[in-house]
């Protein structure tokens, strides 16, 4: 019983942790956003792949929500003291991953190949795949100009309102090796509670991934990233308001037209359930806040139960 999960970084990584507590980790394939990938200090950084990698390896910093636990910042402090580029927080342990990845990429290895190697090295049994091996970059058009994702999200603290999200390179991007197989072999497809525009959106911008999900023969379940019509973290609610016209669960469902069968929504959004049903999508009301390992495992279990019927 294989499961394919489309996911972004932090929230998606937490959701995956819960999922692999509920099912055999080796049965799960994570198809991860690469629209946030960037070069920092000459290094190839894949923030969402790293968040998922660290979470599944059990080395993520749970409190901070990103990066590695027991992290130190000596290298970055040194860079800063030398007047180097220091806006993107690279920790010392974290740097090891970027160094290995950058060397592999420079030697001509694909992102998916080096990702697989890193996952094995960190003891991760779940298959981690970048959505594509080709350059696909998320750009935000705002009244203050157009910004690459991390420039907008980190450097400008996502304060500019977004008029449009673009995915540079998406038109020609092919799914990474293994992505379409994972979608075809899955008994269940899940969309993690990540931002629909900038986390799941770039994955679905790869045409062959989107069409594989449109033509699915198995259920696809999305988890809403909202609780009480607010984002748990990050700009999802602000973006939904501006780009989709509101922050109800139905507005989340409308981000995935023809792509999902079930939308899991929080108890605090139960009033929106009928509007979700009206879109032909079954709402499943549960607790979606992943405050601890038990809560995130239960969320995954509810997603699995949602599509089970003997």
């Amino acid at each position: 019983m294989k499961i394919a999960v489309l996911t972004g970084g932090v929230g998606g990584a937490r959701f995956l942790r819960g999922l692999v507590d509920a099912v055999d980790p080796a049965q799960v394939t994570a198809i991860v956003n690469v629209g946030d990938d960037l070069e920092v200090l000459g290094l190839a950084v894949s923030p969402d792949l790293d968040s998922v990698l660290y979470a599944l390896a059990g080395v993520a910093d749970e409190e901070r929500g990103w990066g590695r636990a027991d992290e130190t910042w000596n290298a970055l402090e040194s860079v800063e003291a030398l007047g180097g580029e220091s806006w993107f927080r690279l920790g010392d342990r974290d740097l090891g991953v970027h160094l290995v990845r950058t060397q592999a990429r420079n030697a001509g290895q694909s992102l998916s190949a080096v990702t697989a190697r890193l996952a094995v090295a960190l003891g991760v049994e779940t298959t981690l795949l970048p959505a594509t091996d080709e350059p696909l970059r998320t750009w935000l058009d705002t009244p203050n100009g157009s910004f690459a994702f991390q420039d907008w999200f980190v450097a400008r603290r996502h304060r500019d309102p977004v008029d449009r999200v673009r995915f540079e390179g998406a038109a020609s991007a092919r799914p990474a090796p293994g992505v379409l197989d994972a979608l075809h072999e899955a008994a269940l497809i899940l969309l993690a509670p990540s931002n629909p525009f900038v986390s799941i959106g770039p994955i679905l911008a790869v045409e062959r991934i989107r069409s594989a999900i449109e033509r699915r023969r198995v259920p696809c379940v999305a988890v809403s990233p909202l609780i009480a019509r607010q984002a748990v973290k990050g700009p999802a609610a602000v973006m939904l308001q501006r780009l989709q016209g509101g922050t109800t669960a139905a507005h989340v469902a409308q981000c995935y037209p023809g792509l999902i069968d079930v939308l899991m929504i929080d108890e605090a959004d139960a009033a929106d359930a009928d509007a979700v049903s009206a879109l032909g999508i079954r709402p499943l009301i549960t607790r979606t806040l992943m405050r601890d390992p038990t809560a995130r495992r239960r969320l995954a279990e509810a997603a699995l139960d949602a599509v089970a019927f003997a």
């Binding site: 019983m1 499961i3 509920a22 099912v23 055999d24 049965q27 008994a187 269940l188 079954r282 499943l284 279990e301 509810a302 997603a303 699995l304 139960d305 949602a306 599509v307 089970a308 019927f309 003997a310």
Partner: protein, 165 residues
């Protein structure tokens, strides 16, 4: 007295593509339950199986045995063994769960889906029983072929009619 609950989705079992076959298999399960308990409670709902069962169990208390509707080889003896072993489960070959016996309806948690046998066994502290009639669920015509000699009378009769046609 143990209550028997059978989750049954009308129009389900789409992989078999034959609702009458699904109904024949259900009849074999209800026959086996009727021999043991005299009545079976069928449950359905818009959502997942666990949700549907949880909804039904909310109105019950005391021991309960939940049996899927797609185990046409089940016997009343197996049901008695399962119920007597509560908390106990019977897993399907693919790691999902075909039957659950609980000491109390309140013990139930909605944990169906891929890999559910492991979750039910862990969470309920349940014994895993290897009862062949409860283990062999029928999702496909190949599954049906494999258990042909052990089918209950309703499924057997339905298949013999198909052959004659």
């Amino acid at each position: 007295m143990t209550a028997y609950v059978i989750p049954y989705r009308i129009g389900g079992k789409t992989r078999l593509g034959d609702p009458k076959l699904a109904l024949a298999m259900l009849s074999d399960v209800t026959d086996a339950v009727n021999e043991v308990a005299g009545e079976a409670l069928l449950v359905d709902g818009p959502g997942g199986q666990g949700e549907a069962v949880a909804g039904a169990l909310a109105t019950l208390s005391g021991p309960v045995t939940i049996v899927n509707a797609d185990v046409p080889c089940v016997t009343s003896v197996e049901l008695e063994q399962l119920t007597a072993s509560a908390p106990a489960i019977v897993a399907a070959r693919d790691g999902t769960t075909n039957a659950i016996a609980l000491r109390d309806a309140d013990d139930f948690e909605p944990l169906y889906g891929p890999g559910s046998a492991r979750r039910f066994a862990q969470r309920l502290g349940a014994t895993r029983l290897a009862l062949p009639g409860l283990r062999d669920d029928v999702d496909t015509w190949e599954d049906l072929e494999r258990v042909r000699d052990r089918l209950g009378k309703n499924t057997r009769r339905y298949l013999s009619r198909l052959v004659r046609m």
